[in-house]
């Protein structure tokens, strides 16, 4: 099969690419675009390390063919901070030790961004745990992750109120 032309907007930058139809969004990000922040864990949709936002929704990029997402808007961990200023979710993960080895962390943070925008969990730790159950942490930093999500939500709500005022 010959390569197919696609266009993707990744972290605000438009990319015109030729891709083999077998290439997953994950492999495209890592191998072609050097965006290696998105991690390949299981490559089978079971661990969540490859989580990115596609058109604002969190998905497993390992189970997405790049060609099928032609035209999509993709946000990866590299596009979350504003220059040197960390996103509140990133800052909260550091403040609460929401990781140990860090391999699952980009996926955890992208999944948290999805969770917060979905607005289903609120400040209920049990709902946060359930909402992030698609992200496995082998270091078992789950306690810190839940604390980080709670604080990040609070910070974001405060800055929303400031913006609204």
């Amino acid at each position: 099969m010959t390569s197919l032309p696609i266009t993707l907007t990744i972290n605000g930058h438009r990319h015109e690419l030729e891709v083999d139809p077998r290439v997953t969004l994950l492999d495209l990000l890592r191998e072609r675009l050097d965006l290696t922040g998105t991690k390949k864990g299981c490559d089978r949709g079971q661990c969540g390390a490859c989580t990115v936002l596609v058109d604002g929704k969190r998905i497993n990029s390992c189970l997405a063919l790049a060609v099928s997402h032609d035209g999509a808007n993709v946000l990866t961990i590299e596009g979350v901070a504003r220059g040197e200023e960390l996103h509140p979710v990133q800052a909260a993960f550091i403040a609460h030790d929401g990781f140990q080895c860090g391999f699952c962390t980009p996926g955890q943070i992208m999944s948290t961004l999805g969770l917060i925008s979905e607005g289903q969990a609120g400040d209920d730790p049990e709902r946060i745990r359930e909402g992030l159950s698609g992200n496995i942490c082998r270091c078992a930093a789950y306690g810190g992750i839940v604390e980080a999500v709670l604080e990040a939500q609070e910070q974001l709500a405060k800055s929303d109120r400031r913006t609204a005022a």
């Binding site: 197919l4 089978r44 999944s111």
Partner: protein, 352 residues
């Protein structure tokens, strides 16, 4: 992954024509298909990407009071549709008890019906599997089979259907709307999935090229909204397939059961509608003795296909629990752990 041709048709007739060619597979959310392709379990020569076909991503209320759910509606979008969750709470609960948030954002209604079994021998291309290679034998028989079927299995295949979503759907008389070369037709979900018999490779009523375009719920399905639950036993708290599950829905008036629906998941090659149990429930007093009688009726034909006799008793108990929960009333808000029998107090830890 084997090389394939990639086609993205613009219309349903174009999609059907392309997919009718041998070696073709439809791609929608891709959450199951890509996994199968990576493992070499399926190797389509042609991928027909239907993810952008127009008009298949709508939820429509029908004039007769029924509901039509487009085949490309994402699992998460359906479960979080407020009107849908209010009218069919056990379907929303089942959806949210399945997979992870990431997968639910991608997986579609049509794809959920067509997902393949998670039998580990089906996934292991070095093992014999009649479903994967017709006539090859079944390594699960006599293998590691504690999670396999206890109803409707055959010596050719003891795999289960993994869907949560399909369990309350079959209880509510859902109908699958299919478009094919001969036009559009309706097949009840109860008849859509096939038991293995001697041909476990044939899993459903679809012919080559056939496309699921929608799933319909009849008007009556919404009449159970006040007393409906889906409960699911898993081997870990979340993000796991059902060991056994049950969808139970009741209409109770003056202590008597006026209408009842019951279906089981994780027990057979299809979502298992328990009609004999419904007959026991209908007109009876809504109490634990009745529910136990219904559970016995639901599992009357069950037999272990291996090291899984425990699932029969477990299924009886989840039936009683689901009926008891349904009678108690649909919760105002979905529990923190959807479908978990271990979660009762909102906000409390399941393991406290």
């Amino acid at each position: 992954m084997r090389d394939f041709d990639y086609i993205r048709p613009a219309t349903i007739p174009d999609a059907i024509a392309a997919a009718a060619e041998p070696g073709s597979a439809y791609l929608a959310g891709g959450t199951n298909l890509l996994d199968l392709m990576k493992g070499g379990i399926t190797s389509p020569e042609r991928i027909v990407d239907i993810s952008r076909l127009p008009e298949l991503n709508r939820i429509e209320r029908l004039e007769d009071g029924g509901l039509r759910i487009g085949a490309l509606v994402r699992n998460a979008d359906l479960a979080h549709d407020a009107a849908f969750a209010k009218a069919y709470p056990m379907v929303a609960e089942a959806l949210l008890s399945g997979a992870s948030a990431q997968l639910r954002n991608a997986a579609t209604v049509g794809g959920n019906l067509l997902q393949r079994t998670r039998c580990s021998y089906f996934y292991d291309t070095a093992s014999a599997c009649n479903k994967r290679v017709s006539g090859a034998g079944c390594a699960a028989l006599g293998g590691e089979n504690r999670l396999h079927a206890v109803l409707g299995w055959s010596d050719a295949c003891i795999a289960t259907h993994p869907s949560d979503f399909c369990v309350p759907l079959v209880a509510l008389d859902a109908v699958v709307e299919i478009e094919g070369k001969q036009g559009r037709r309706h097949v009840t979900l109860a008849e859509f999935h096939l038991l293995p018999g001697e041909t476990p490779q044939r899993e459903n009523a679809l012919e080559p090229g056939d496309l699921i375009v929608a799933v319909r719920l009849p008007a009556e399905a919404a009449s159970f909204a006040a007393n409906a639950r889906y409960l699911k036993i898993r081997e870990r708290t979340s993000y796991a397939f059902a060991v056994v599950s049950a969808a139970a829905a009741l209409v109770v008036d003056g202590g008597k059961i006026r209408a009842a629906r019951l279906a089981l998941g994780g027990v057979a090659a299809k979502p298992w509608r328990a009609r004999a149990a419904e007959a026991v429930l209908l007109g009876a007093d809504a109490n634990e003795a009745t529910f136990a009688g219904a559970a016995d009726a639901a599992l009357a034909d069950a037999s272990p296909s291996g090291d899984n006799a425990f699932k029969i008793e477990l299924a009886r108990r989840i039936v009683v629990r689901a009926l008891t929960s349904a009678q108690a009333g649909t919760p105002e808000r979905l529990p923190a752990l959807p479908a978990s029998p271990f979660s009762s107090i909102p906000g409390a830890r399941h393991d406290a």
